[in-house]
């Protein structure tokens, strides 16, 4: 019976039977008891109603949470999968010789694991999807440690291959020429030429040769700027000839052989060689699809035709620093790789800006950065912050083999210059100074001798009031 009907019945019974009780106290007790019944029933109904309401709400909430958890789980799985894949891809990309190794091993591994699972010969069974995932992840990451293996080791194709300063090879050619000069002198003496005159000639030639080598050796270091006259002298020295009596197509790796033009094989020895030269075999072609790929990502960097050019004269002619335009591009390429890798990741909404923040740290506010030549309006604050942090660290770092660390004041001055040129964010730069972050960092990571005074106020004045610094 429904509670409200029961209540009505009790109310009726109370009316009906109370009149039969004549003793007042008994009657009162009876009425009280009936009222208590009614009150309790009403309360019970109330409790049930509220409880149902609460339960419904709680169940709905639970369902909602469950859906959220499931959604998050899926997103997380996707993110992890992608992370694993970009690591594998990065390893594959690092060494052209291993190609798509990391991508292909999982295919074989999974198929083989499935087959083993089905076969009765093995005490092995893939019981669920999770187990398959486990094997797949392991296969994708089986070479992940290679990320720290030096490329020249991974790619070493012949025993004598290494990262090599070719000045030693060129110096050996100077040695050869030096001996050729001595031989020539001896021959001339044997032919009855005046010994004193020949010795004088030899001495002069040898002195010139020494000077030429010194010039080339100094040029190789790349610390000084190069002028037209330098290049002319380089060319003159390079054009000097010597005789090669040995076949230079032997003992090479497959990759090297493929770069040698047909006519260079089986040459009649000895061969006249230039002292320093640019050859066809020095050039490594860039795959055409690479260029297309970069355009797809909206990169606006000029891509050199060759992947590398190892030409000797070509390299010695580098105007500034030690990198060819091909190598310079390789360095810049890291920003493109960062973007390519990160844009592949299905970051959840709250992480969706990671690719732009990370990948735009070489962009400049004035649009002269790379790889997308973004401008102020496209560069969010965190990306601008990355740029300042990246440059400041690089300038002050004392652990780079190719350069000396800058003093604190020099580093700040360079940053200020970049602000003046419209490359870095002025307000962030000033904040970097006035907040004292630059100094805190310096105290923590710079060598004591690097830390000198920085006139923060002068920079603030200059950039806020237009007064001159220094």
């Amino acid at each position: 019976m429904a509670e409200n009907e029961l209540i009505k019945e009790i109310e009726k019974a109370k009316e009906k039977y109370s009149q039969y009780i004549h003793e007042e106290e008994e009657k009162e007790n009876f009425i009280k008891l009936m009222e208590k019944f009614v009150k309790d029933l009403k309360r019970h109904e109330k409790i049930m109603l509220r409880s149902d309401k609460r339960q419904k709400k709680e169940y709905d909430e639970l369902q909602k949470r469950l859906e959220e958890v499931e959604k998050l789980q899926k997103a997380q799985k996707k993110l992890i999968d992608s992370f694993i894949k970009i690591i594998a891809e990065a390893i594959d990309t690092k060494s052209s010789y291993t190609g798509k190794h990391c991508e292909r091993v999982p295919e074989i591994a999974i198929e083989l694991a499935k087959a083993a699972s089905q076969s009765e010969k093995f005490e092995f069974e893939i019981k669920n999807e999770q187990q398959e995932t486990e094997i797949s992840i392991a296969a994708w990451l089986h070479d992940c440690g290679k990320i720290v293996t030096p490329e020249y080791v991974v790619d070493k194709a012949v025993k004598l291959e290494t990262i090599y300063n070719r000045i030693h090879e060129i110096r050996t050619r100077f040695e050869v020429i030096n001996r050729d000069l001595i031989i020539e002198a001896l021959k001339r003496k044997m032919n009855g030429e005046d010994e004193k005159k020949v010795d004088e000639w030899l001495k002069k030639e040898q002195k010139q040769l020494q000077d030429d080598f010194d010039f080339i050796a100094k040029l190789n270091v790349g610390s000084e700027s190069i002028e037209e006259s330098t290049l002319e002298r380089l060319q003159n020295i390079a054009n000097r000839e010597w005789l090669r009596y040995f076949d230079d197509t032997k003992g090479l790796s497959k990759g090297e052989i493929e770069r040698i033009p047909e006519e260079d094989f089986n040459q009649k020895l000895p061969v006249r060689e230039k002292l320093i030269s640019d050859k066809q075999r020095h050039k490594i072609k860039r795959p055409a699809e690479e260029i297309e790929e970069y355009k797809k990502y909206g990169f606006k960097v000029e891509i050199p035709e060759n992947l590398y050019n190892y030409g000797e004269v070509y390299n010695l002619s580098i105007k500034k620093g030690t990198l060819t335009k091909e190598e310079f591009f390789k360095i810049q390429e890291h920003a493109m790789m960062t973007i390519k890798m990160l844009e592949q990741l299905p970051f959840p909404d709250y992480l969706k800006n990671v690719p732009i923040y990370a990948g735009a740290h070489h962009e400049k506010l004035n649009g002269k950065g790379y790889p997308r030549k973004l401008t102020e309006k496209d560069l969010p604050i965190p990306a601008r912050i990355m740029a300042i942090a990246d440059i400041f660290e690089a300038l002050t770092a004392s652990d780079r083999p190719y350069k000396h660390p800058k003093k604190l004041s020099e580093a700040i001055d360079i940053l200020a210059d970049m602000v003046k040129k419209g490359e870095l964010d002025k307000d962030l730069f000033l904040l970097f100074l006035t907040s004292g972050i630059y100094l805190e960092y310096a105290k923590k990571y710079l060598k004591p001798e690097q830390i000198d005074d920085v006139d923060v106020n002068a920079y603030v004045d200059y950039f806020t009031k237009g007064n001159k610094t220094n």
């Binding site: 309360r43 019970h44 109330k46 409790i47 509220r50 409880s51 609460r54 709400k57 709680e58």
Partner: protein
């Protein structure tokens, strides 16, 4: 009279009944397997407290995160006892709830409405506390 303390379990709240200080506290979750058995000594203690040994001021703190419907019935009974005791005693009743716990907040509001004479204080606790 002796104090009664029942530590919290996975299904039952921490119960602390302190006759010396005049503090009655119920904190935590309440969905015991047998609710009436669980609360019987508690209700008994409280009745006895008001019968013999109530302090001048009694403070009752409820901080119930979650409760089932039989616990709800027990709470009604408890409020009945408090209502009766209120005539002779000075009782402060606090219904404490977490700001994120809507159910607990609503339950407090319901009890306040059902027992207007008790002047139940609804106290919102924020996360940081």
């Amino acid at each position: 009279m002796e104090n009664l303390y029942i530590p919290a379990t996975k299904y039952t709240p921490e119960i602390s009944l302190n006759a010396e200080k005049g503090i009655i506290e119920i904190r935590g979750k309440s969905y015991p397997e047998n609710t009436f058995d669980f609360y019987e000594p508690v209700l008994k203690w409280i009745e006895e407290y008001f019968n013999c040994c109530a302090k001048d001021n009694t403070v009752v703190n409820f901080e119930i995160i979650y409760f089932n419907s039989s616990s709800s019935k027990v709470l009604f009974d408890l409020f009945d006892i408090l209502q009766e005791a209120k005539e002779k005693n000075n009782i402060t009743i606090n219904w404490i709830y977490d700001e994120e716990n809507e159910s607990a907040e609503e339950a407090g509001e319901d009890f306040k409405e059902d027992f207007p004479e008790l002047n139940i204080n609804l106290i919102k606790k924020s996360e940081e506390e």
